[in-house]
Symmetry: C2
Subunit: 423 residues, 2 copies
Amino acid sequence: MKSLNIGIIGFGTVGCGVFETLKSFNEITVKKIAVKNINKKRNIENFDNSLLTDNPYEIVNNPDIDVIVEVAGGINPIFDVLKTAINNGKHIVTANKELLAKKGSELFSLAKEKNTVILYEAAVAGGIPIIMPIKTILCANKITKIAAILNGTTNYILTKMAEQELSYETALKQAQELGYAETDPTGDVEGFDASYKISILSTISFNKRIDINKIYREGITKITPQDIKSAKELGYKIKLIAMGRVLDDGKIDVRVHPMLVAKKHLLAKVNNATNSIMLSGYPVGDLVFTGAGAGAEPTSSSVVGDLLVLASELEITNSPLPQSICTHNETAEQIDIGDTYNDYYISITTSNNPGTIGIIGTICGKNNINISTIMQKGINKDNTAEIVVLTETSKESDVQNALKELIQSESIKNINNLLRVMN
Amino acid sequence: MKSLNIGIIGFGTVGCGVFETLKSFNEITVKKIAVKNINKKRNIENFDNSLLTDNPYEIVNNPDIDVIVEVAGGINPIFDVLKTAINNGKHIVTANKELLAKKGSELFSLAKEKNTVILYEAAVAGGIPIIMPIKTILCANKITKIAAILNGTTNYILTKMAEQELSYETALKQAQELGYAETDPTGDVEGFDASYKISILSTISFNKRIDINKIYREGITKITPQDIKSAKELGYKIKLIAMGRVLDDGKIDVRVHPMLVAKKHLLAKVNNATNSIMLSGYPVGDLVFTGAGAGAEPTSSSVVGDLLVLASELEITNSPLPQSICTHNETAEQIDIGDTYNDYYISITTSNNPGTIGIIGTICGKNNINISTIMQKGINKDNTAEIVVLTETSKESDVQNALKELIQSESIKNINNLLRVMN
């Protein structure tokens, strides 16, 4: 294996995990680490403070460094820092999903031009091997669908809501106390993090560049204990699902939203902070990859794995292997959520009148929606009723139109939630 | 990607699947196919019969052929045929688990000497990517444990026995009618197939050569509907588990036997002919890979994946990459089943006397076995009783001694089954 000198940018949980894991691999030497505050006490035994710099450009302009490990995250200043690194002929190993989702196209084009590689196993699903398998051993496949749990924080919150019958707010607070959720949880709970990851996965799976701004995204903040209870009674669990599909006409459907997942589905069985990716392709059929989606140790497995594979390749040749180079020049034609077809769960508060079910049925029928189940969930003190509707496969825009009509009706007090269903 | 000329040895289900899948990849040309009977009608559209030969040596001695795809199976004549191929400088892609388990050491040494590679993703778990991920992206890990369902036939039979309350014989017959089991099912139901696969997986995971003859192996033919029913009542499913572990002293424990798997365990949720591999390592933690473990299409994904990765590497360099070469020169010190520690399920037929439970408890205690559950399952017409015992973690040799003592007792009519338990 070729000896590599590396520089690490970012020295938080993941950076420290990578540093610790690298201690077992003599062929990789950490030359320099860029941090925000070089005076902060580091919780690493016998740590040599002279490794630190607060100037990342000192690393990417250092001619002794072969590979940049970027675990800092964010766009600024990292985008410019990594462009400088690539312009200087350095290879990149990164865990930065936001950067790849938003600026990947530009970075990969530059890397191709400069004959360097960008590896990013750690950017999606932490320790789960998925990027390299798709690019290597699965490359005979035409992948047509991915459905995945890619965010541990939201899966933890939804698991606790279901197991302990907690409200969203209480479960979020527990997750924050345990370090599963950040003080500002927006990136996780509103689905941004999952949307970056599904954007990356869809790009390499479908061989087309995905526009992150065209990914439909909906978080878990509106899920109520009542939704979870109703789902359970109907034989489902609620999960935040990141999904990518190639439609028959070649258009691409990529989105992130909560779904009712049938209990028999393998993704329904993935609990707490665990991640899981189901991939469907031809000829391989359905595969499911499950493991820890975050954390210092699992993530360091992917970062150091990328580094060791790169060192192994560089021992033999200075040319990047074809499978390490981005070849996705074609842009995906992404469809709007309104044009997708789904099964739906609709939770409605109605007045408790005899004709209400008839009104719901009529409005759905008029909008081409076949109802498969309609369930009254009990009468409230104010003589309103909670009604849950499950539909057969319907067009999203039809469902949205039906909801607009329903809310006009005097019998309908509120549309509490609309969720899509995976059977 | 480099254009490759290949020869295929074996043209059954998998061979035909590979041939069909390769039609999408112009860079790989099938030059010749070795079959047993060149006159047999092939169920492939526009098939060119002149591709066929009944002499595999015609392929491995053909200087125009770069890579041999071997999907024939068995040791003779394949071992000699592939040695000839390697001596002629050809690379090998094989699905032959028996050959690798029994003769891998010799083949890999020869390949290393001749600077050729042997790839075998298809030999373990069909379409599930596991061999290449372990050798590449997971290579930063110290893998300490594998627990897997590696045989689809037995998993299908056990699933049907549980779901439809069938006897082993009836479920086997159904599996045979559906093509999931062969006319002579021995290789599957007695655990030989799973033992070859866990031998290969353990070798690459623990970096030590495994002696297939030292793998403890027990099939599923003795599992009764009563065992499955008792397991269910206790919160378990019965699965044929292939397991490999590194013990604290560096010794290796590799075995194949049926186990009671706790229902909450992800492996308990893998049904029908599906395969699943749980791998535990540091720093990655636990990973689970699930998918189709057999069949023409999934297996062809792995065979063609190996071919395309090889073609990609050969475009850049004629030297095999370090991760494609076998480096397992050290032989594992495998422990005897008698020296392993497990939790146990013991099914016993006793006479229906008041003192029987006391006798079982006393004999277990004398042999250092702590009982965690003891359950009488009902009285038979001949006034015997069925008793099920669950133990805490105990040494196998102690358990075997206890069984010998138990059967001496007048109250104990029969030891019906002894199964190990995974919680």
